[in-house]
Amino acid sequence: MENNDLTIHLKNITFSYPGCDPVLEKLNIQFQKGSKIGLMGPNGSGKTTLFHIIMGLLKPSAGKIEIFNTPVETENDFRKVREKIGLLFQDADDQLFSPTVLEDVAFGPLNLGKTKSDAMDIAKNTLDFLGLNGFEERITYKLSGGEKKLVSLATVLAMEPEVLLLDEPTSGLDDKTKETIKNVLMSLDLSYILISHEIDFLADITDSIYTLQSGAINYDREIQVHHHVHAHAHGAYEHEHD
């Protein structure tokens, strides 16, 4: 019965870009429903590649993929996967292509076969949920970096996915926007895999953190609370660090 909760199952996945050494080699992943996982790793270690393989955007040279206990191989199989798994891209400019925010957020629901008015409702509710009311008619390319990221998140959430794949959702964002994204993720009853280089951020909102290195996944032990001793000017006064 435990098997029913197995959402993403990668078996011996190998992938290499043309003319390069394999980025991923015989990679195995079992991702359970309800998990909130952080993924770290050096640049170029294949984190984004891994996400793209799960979504069927890249084809592995070897290995099998099972999503929701169904083997997926063809573009048609992956179409169904994409209805249940949402991917937030690293660069929001890649994700937002419609002229206005509302149209962009409604794009996913419309593709899922929702009626115009339903799609509009979903889009508006999602924007409200992210604190983006009043953004409906804004022009996407004129948004600030943080706003673009939040709208991108809205476009993914509007499809009501069961699993989220987040590719560096906080890179280049200010603290306030980071906080918003953190709160949104914590308040959602969703499973997700989160790529980030920020250990504090990962520690706050994930159950366990893995690292991807030299083509293989390693489990980083459970998170431990610990203190650092440090010194700087005015250190004698009681203070806190973020």
């Binding site: 793209h52 979504m55 069927g56 955007l57 179409r79 994409r82 209805e83 949402g86 991917l87 891209f89 660069d91 400019d93 890649d94 994700q95 292509f97 419609s98 002229p99 206005t100 509302l102 149209e103 409604a106 794009f107 996913g108 419309l110 593709n111 899922l112 115009k116 799609a119 509009m120 996407t140 390319y141 476009t155 993914v156 499809m159």
Partner: protein, 251 residues
């Protein structure tokens, strides 16, 4: 020419965009085949009238007409001298032909008349309304998509260009007339092309992730009211009159 519409409140702004597109399209077609100068002048005046009704500012008008007329300027450099016909005067040993001057004049008036109506259209309609209207008019999907994406990503490409140009500038690059300059510029253009291609791939992937199956949906619905119908009838009448004037005097 594709910038945000001027936010004025003109009569044209409230017209159904589909009617505007149809009218401008047929107007351009007819003007393109007109051949008589008086009729062409009528079309030219009509163009100005459009721009006037659309309340386009003079600055905007000049900015948008300049590129077209630069091209026309080049035609004036060659056409009067190369078009076979009766010479009317000599510049040095070069004969200027009557037919050449006439031909260049016609092209000037034609292109300006068409451009003026286009400016009137673009200035009073936002780009995505235009796109959706094209879709409603059953323009092939691919063209409408191309139109949307060009508009959306031209800014991203421009930003990429500025980034590259700046990174060249801060390392002391100054365009001169030497091989180094040409090589660097070629690299830059190549880089922009490659990056655009990558970008296109990523955008397509992002769309696939959201269930893209080749359809873009419009949330806009258009409705035609009395004013739209009156305008359509008027526009059709004007276009027909232009056509008839041309036809009557040629037969």
């Amino acid at each position: 020419m594709f910038e945000e519409p001027s936010h004025n409140d003109s009569l044209l702004m409230h017209l159904d965009p589909r009617i505007k597109i149809v009218a401008v399209f047929f107007f351009s077609m007819v003007v393109a085949i007109l051949n008589r100068i008086p009729v062409l002048l009528c079309a030219w005046v009509l163009g100005f009238l459009m721009v006037f009704i659309a309340k386009v500012s003079l600055r905007e008008l000049v900015k948008r007409l300049t590129p077209v007329n630069m091209l026309v300027g080049f035609l004036w450099l060659f056409l009067p001298f190369t078009f076979p016909g009766k010479p009317i005067l000599y510049l040095g040993t070069l004969p200027v032909t009557h037919e050449g001057v006439l031909y260049a004049t016609k092209i000037t008036i034609k292109s300006n008349a068409i451009m003026l109506t286009m400016i009137g259209l673009v200035a009073t309609t936002s780009i995505f309304t235009l796109g959706h209207a094209m879709h409603e008019l059953k323009v092939p999907k691919k063209i409408v998509h191309l139109f949307f994406f060009t508009y959306r990503y031209i800014h991203v490409m421009q930003r990429e260009y500025i980034r590259l140009a700046n990174s060249m500038k801060i390392r002391g690059f100054r365009a001169k007339s030497n091989l180094h300059t040409y090589k660097t510029l070629a690299y830059m253009i190549g880089m922009i092309l490659v990056r655009s291609l990558d970008r296109a791939q990523r955008v397509h992937n992002a769309m696939l992730c959201r269930g893209f199956k080749g359809n873009l949906y419009s949330l806009k619905t258009f409705s035609i009211n009395k004013r739209d119908i009156v305008s359509l009838v008027l526009a059709t009448a004007i276009i027909i009159v232009l056509g008839v004037l041309e036809w009557k005097t040629t037969t």
